[in-house]
């Protein structure tokens, strides 16, 4: 499947099924609307007349070049990946979201965890559940060596003893089992202090730091319990953490914002975070009930698209104070294999989430939904049927994904979003799809821009 679009002044073509990416001149770009596979070596006779605004030489030349791409398999490649999806089986569990705290010290209005408690009681995970989680991963991960565990919540720093205990336990037994634990943490930063910063920078391969950008954007929606500014508390702590980290040579962290209807000019928030000294940035659209005043709806799409265009241009033109924007990063050349791309969400299959009481759910977004409970660490139960269902939930079993040009970069979106907003894990959430495709165009354009600049 071929997708063509203009961005940053380039005529870009993505051949989805081969991952070929090309930049075309106007003549070849217009021609793509008129031809399809199978291409013949001979140019169709009526093409010059259909493209009369170009010289016949150009039309011939462009056709010949497109034909070369076609022959080498990077244009109009066929989608023959379904055969791999038919053999998709359950994977070892090697990744976990550990909800160490179902409590939070902020009251962010858009929180999907309903201000931290996931609709249940506020509680903290005892250290022994953390240790059981490690045992579970060692047992269930078969021969997988790299095991990922993300401390999440609620606010995970509220369960600091459990975080430390869990890490310590894993480190004490990982070698004897041939495992390598990769810890990450997602925090709002309120409770960060020197000791925690030091521990996090030593033990965690990635940290996600939640901040919404400018002071007014952050404080409008990330509410503290005492009514004071969250921004003022958090920013210096994040700066300290990031400085410590980068001095040690670790570049993996994200300062992550959620944008809502209140700040559709989120480029300003991204740039503000850069001004604060952060270089790894992210801003993600809030996904929430349309009835919320800050919800993003279909009507906001044109505004958001133009904002993404703006951000994309800013990034392309910057020569200093550059930064990475999470959603505009693609690795064209060394990205994951096609098999991996058939199933972008590992939920319930190689990934699970565990709540403070040891209940196991397919992922952090399913936590608290009884119907999706997979088992419990205390009694050793683990539902294999739910696992099989998710193993078979991939591009070719989801509605519309096989015919979507973005499929090998989106990989079918978020199962939880689909379930919560469309009622079915296999029915992609339309608004998320639209945003995904737009971001991907920007990402591809930036990759093209960089490749062309490097080649000069």
């Amino acid at each position: 499947m071929v997708h063509k679009f203009k961005q940053l002044g380039y005529n870009i073509v993505l051949d989805s099924d081969s991952n070929g990416v090309h930049v075309l001149d106007d003549c070849a770009y217009d021609m793509l609307d008129l031809i399809s596979a199978p291409m013949s070596e001979e140019m169709p006779l009526n093409l010059p007349a259909q493209l009369a605004k170009y010289s016949e030489d150009d039309v011939r030349g462009a056709y010949a070049e497109l034909y070369t791409l076609y022959k080498e398999g990077s244009l109009f490649a066929e989608d023959d990946y379904k055969k791999y999806s038919d053999t998709m089986v359950k994977s070892p569990v090697k990744s976990m979201c550990l909800n160490v705290s179902h409590d939070c010290n902020l009251r962010c209005e858009y929180c999907f965890a309903q201000t931290g408690d996931f609709g249940g009681e506020r509680c903290i995970m005892p250290p022994e559940i953390g240790r059981k989680a490690i045992d579970f991963l060692i047992e269930r991960s078969a021969n997988r060596e790299n095991i990922e565990l993300d401390f999440f919540g609620g606010e995970p720093l509220m369960a600091w003893d459990t975080v430390m205990e869990t890490v310590k336990y894993a480190r004490s037994i990982e070698k004897q089992h041939g495992k390598n634990f990769r810890f990450t943490i997602t925090t709002n930063g309120v409770l960060l202090d020197d000791e925690k910063i030091e521990f996090i920078n030593r033990e965690m391969v990635n940290v996600v730091l939640s901040l919404d950008g400018r002071r007014e954007t952050t404080d409008r929606i990330r509410k503290t319990l005492n009514g004071k500014s969250a921004y003022d508390v958090i920013v210096p702590k994040f700066q300290k953490l990031v400085k410590g980290r980068t001095t040690e040579g670790k570049t993996d962290y994200y300062v992550r914002a959620t944008f809502t209807k209140y700040n559709l000019d989120f480029t300003e928030d991204v740039l503000h975070m850069r001004e604060l000294g952060f270089e790894q940035l992210s801003a993600e659209p809030v996904v929430t009930d349309e009835k919320e005043p800050f919800a993003i709806t279909g009507a906001d799409l044109p505004r958001i698209y133009s904002e993404y265009d703006k951000l994309c241009e800013v990034m392309a033109n910057r020569t200093k104070d550059r930064f990475n924007f999470f959603h505009f990063m693609v690795d064209l050349d060394q990205g994951p294999c096609a098999i991996k791309r058939l199933r972008g969400c590992g939920c319930g299959n190689d990934y699970v989430a565990v709540d403070p009481n040891g209940n196991i759910f397919p992922c952090h977004q399913f936590v608290g939904i009884d119907k999706w409970k997979m088992g419990n660490l205390n009694d050793g139960t683990f539902d294999d049927e739910i696992k099989s269902y998710f193993a078979k939930t991939h591009l070719y079993s989801k509605q519309g994904c096989a015919d979507c040009w973005a499929k090998f970069y989106c990989s079918g979106g978020c199962n939880a979003n689909s379930y919560i907003y469309e009622g079915d894990c296999r029915k992609p959430h339309k608004l998320s799809c639209e945003l995904q495709r737009k971001r991907l165009e920007c990402a591809l354009a930036l990759a093209v821009h960089k490749a062309l600049a490097d080649s000069k």
Partner: protein, 47 residues
């Protein structure tokens, strides 16, 4: 070539043939976990 500049060659089919080793990070496509979407990942077996 005069009309076309190829920025990325076809590499997806070949990746399918030798792929699926499972060494790479688990991924999540949702907005609430920034660390691991597919487009951001690298293959961990071709180092």
């Amino acid at each position: 070539m005069k009309h076309v500049v190829t920025v990325n060659k076809a590499n997806l089919k070949a990746s399918a043939e030798k792929g699926g080793c499972g060494k790479c990070t688990s991924s999540c496509q949702s907005a609430c976990k920034t660390s691991c979407t597919v487009a951001n990942q690298k293959c961990e077996s071709v180092k």
